[in-house]
Subunit: 245 residues, 4 copies
DNA sequence: GATGAATGAGATTTCATTCAT
DNA sequence: AATGAATGAAATCTCATTCAT
């Protein structure tokens, strides 16, 4: 899947804008946002610094534009994939793979960018809900939400499951795992295997069947038993010590 | 639980060092690493810039020291909690709460710092394995790993579960969810409820072979019970012998 | 002879660059390299500090540029003078005067700059041969070498004389003597007298085999005379032929 | 010959002072004056920074002390050598070798130090005559002067020779030549050979005999002749060119 | 006498942004 | 629309020197 080239720029203006975006994307990904000067971006894009600021008023604007592009593609690809597959589990697999693929294809740029953006340039937790990135992310994750809700409606997923939590596990798990994945050489199949390994337990916990014995209680007995055993063990140990004296 | 105050600084040197660390921690948390100048840190700590660099050769050194401190506390509290509780599920609940608590107590500093550190100042994915933070994180997550492995040994967790994936879901989910949590006013119980909501599906998916018998009582570990009984009998016998003396 | 004004700057850029170079030259000369801040240079040149670094990436680059300019002028003037005079002794006199003149005209800057450069900023004796200043100096002293070699070829200088040693005496003596000269008020004729006083013994020691016949007329180069006479006769013959046509 | 150890420090105070001097000497030599911080000197000397400034009020004081020591040794060794040898030429050879040896033994320190001192920290040419280093150097070069004067008195050196000029050639030549010597691997004999090569022409030019044909005139005839030849040559060449047309 | 923590002025360099051309 | 020279504020870090202990 081709990235920024997708919207083929036709006019000279669009070409320039695209050049700048691509150059900035590559440099941000390689060196990080703060370690990349606008001068270098301009140089890499083959334009003057003045021109760069002619297209993007601010370095932050540039970052925002990159994020916009990225999310636009992410959202589009996610929607397409979800529309093409009907099975809920397959849809989740697709979303996960697509998510990782997009992140990695951009040389992990996005993860870094988003983090930097969230962590440094915005006061993230202060005004997250008003930030433009919140909006992007919201629109993106709604696709996931839709899949889950449809799965519930169809009876594949137990309906009392808390959606936000599944969402956190899904995206959080994927991005956390990406660290491990990226620090090694990885192939396409490696990603696929990893994703399947992650969806499997998630899927289990979503199953309607698993809800049958209402969890809460089902988990209690062995714990209770375990606790009692442990207590007895402790007593036994104490007795042993005393015995040795 | 109190943070840097824990190791109460006694000498004047330690006091100063602690002052600087605290000031830097707060500022980094509020404004981000790159938006906080050493001058402001020095000012906030009540020392001159020269003094700051007398204690920490580099702004990065300062960051490193903060991370070291944070992880040291995190690791210690995690170990203590795990040692105090025997039940696997309870342990996971504790680890999750502890993780969130630590992150939030530091004004979400650490998450941001770590991200910045990973994303910007290091070339994260390039030399992650050699970075000092990798080591810290490794030592921390091994505690989680230990809990899971012990759970498997005891029969509470199906042994074919892939540990790295559970780990990614656990920590990734927590940190991803933290965004939501922090953007609202939250109370202690809110965290607790959130954590329990997250552990519940995770725990389910860990249960022994949920695929075959629909979970529930299948989680019973009969051998464990048998072993404990046998041991108790042995102890009883020994006690009987002692009683005969 | 005017220094940086020589290549009259036409464009605004060249003008600025020249301003900066001149300001830096003057300040370095007055206060020394390490005691002159870039801020003061910028101020003296009437530009902002940012502009200064726009033209010269580094304070050292600036120094290098000054040295380049100086040597370029030195080399050019030396070549011109040598080309304009045929007599070896006159050439040496010229080179010596020119050397001192250039050094003094630049407010003794160059001697100081070069020394500082050699002594402090480079590890002089460690990588002298690879330093850019070595190259400049080499190109300059080759002019002297050429004069000496030609003097040998013409029979005015005894050929067994060791060129490096004469070179050391020549330039070393001049620069060492400059200290004395500069600490007093000096006029043009004073320099001239000093130079003549220095060339006199040097020249004597270069004369052909001063050891054998007590010098003086021994310096006569009979073969040179013979060769020239022969050549003149040949030319005369040819002219005669032409006249017969 | 041992350098700073010569005045064997007895008291603890003297030992410390000597330690500091030695450390500073080595570091200045290796890294240059401005690139060596007092902190590093203190560290290398095994004392605290406070102590360093207890012994030497100023970094410049330290430099001055080093120079004092160096010159003291230089002067002493020069005096001893001159006293031990009677022949004028031998004395000059000794002085030259001794000069180079001392310079090189100190890792070329002194040359660099003096240059730095002269070039940067003092406004050398402004108040050279009042500077302490002028005094040291004056006392040192007077030894050379004495040798020359005695040589004149004994009839070995022509009396009309200008002493300052010979002095400049002698010391200037030596120090200029040192650059070449130090940038290669050199042995003791290499220095000796170099010095002899340099004294030879110098000595010739000092000879009383060379004065017999009063130089000035003696040098004229061949020059005059040369000029005439050159002129004739030029005319001949022009004629030849015309002839070829 | 010895220490080394503390200082604060200052040094070089970077950078996003502006604006005259 | 495009340029790139110009800016000046700010950033990190160094350093000789002082002084309380």
């Amino acid at each position: 899947m081709n990235k920024p080239e997708r919207n083929k720029p036709r006019t000279r203006l669009e070409q320039r804008e695209s050049d700048i975006l691509q150059a900035a994307t590559a440099l941000f990904a390689d060196e990080g946002f703060h370690n990349t000067s606008t001068r270098r971006i301009a140089g890499a894009a083959g334009v003057s610094e003045g021109t760069l600021f002619h297209y993007f008023n601010t370095k932050n604007t540039l970052l925002q534009a990159i994020l916009d592009d990225f999310y636009a593609q992410l959202i589009e690809s996610a929607r397409e994939g979800v529309a093409a597959v009907m099975d809920t589990r397959e849809r989740l697999l697709f979303l996960a793979k697509n998510h990782l693929r997009a992140l990695m294809e951009n040389q992990a740029l996005m993860m870094r960018l988003i983090q930097v953006y969230l962590s440094v340039d915005l006061n993230y937790y202060r005004d997250y809900r008003n930030s433009p990135i919140h909006d992007l992310n919201y629109r993106y994750t709604r696709i996931f939400d839709g899949v889950i809700k449809e799965g519930m409606a169809r009876g594949y997923i137990r309906p009392e499951l808390e959606l936000p939590i599944v969402r956190d596990l899904f995206f959080g798990g994927l991005e956390y795992g990406m660290r491990t994945l990226m620090s090694r050489q990885y192939g396409k199949d490696r990603i696929a295997r990893y994703v399947e390994g992650m969806i499997e337990p998630l899927w289990q916990s979503m199953q309607a069947s698993a809800a049958a014995p209402p969890a809460g209680n089902a988990a209690l007995p062995p714990d209770r038993l375990e606790q009692t055993c442990a207590r007895l063990e402790r007593i036994a140990e104490r007795l042993e010590k005393q015995g040795k004296r």
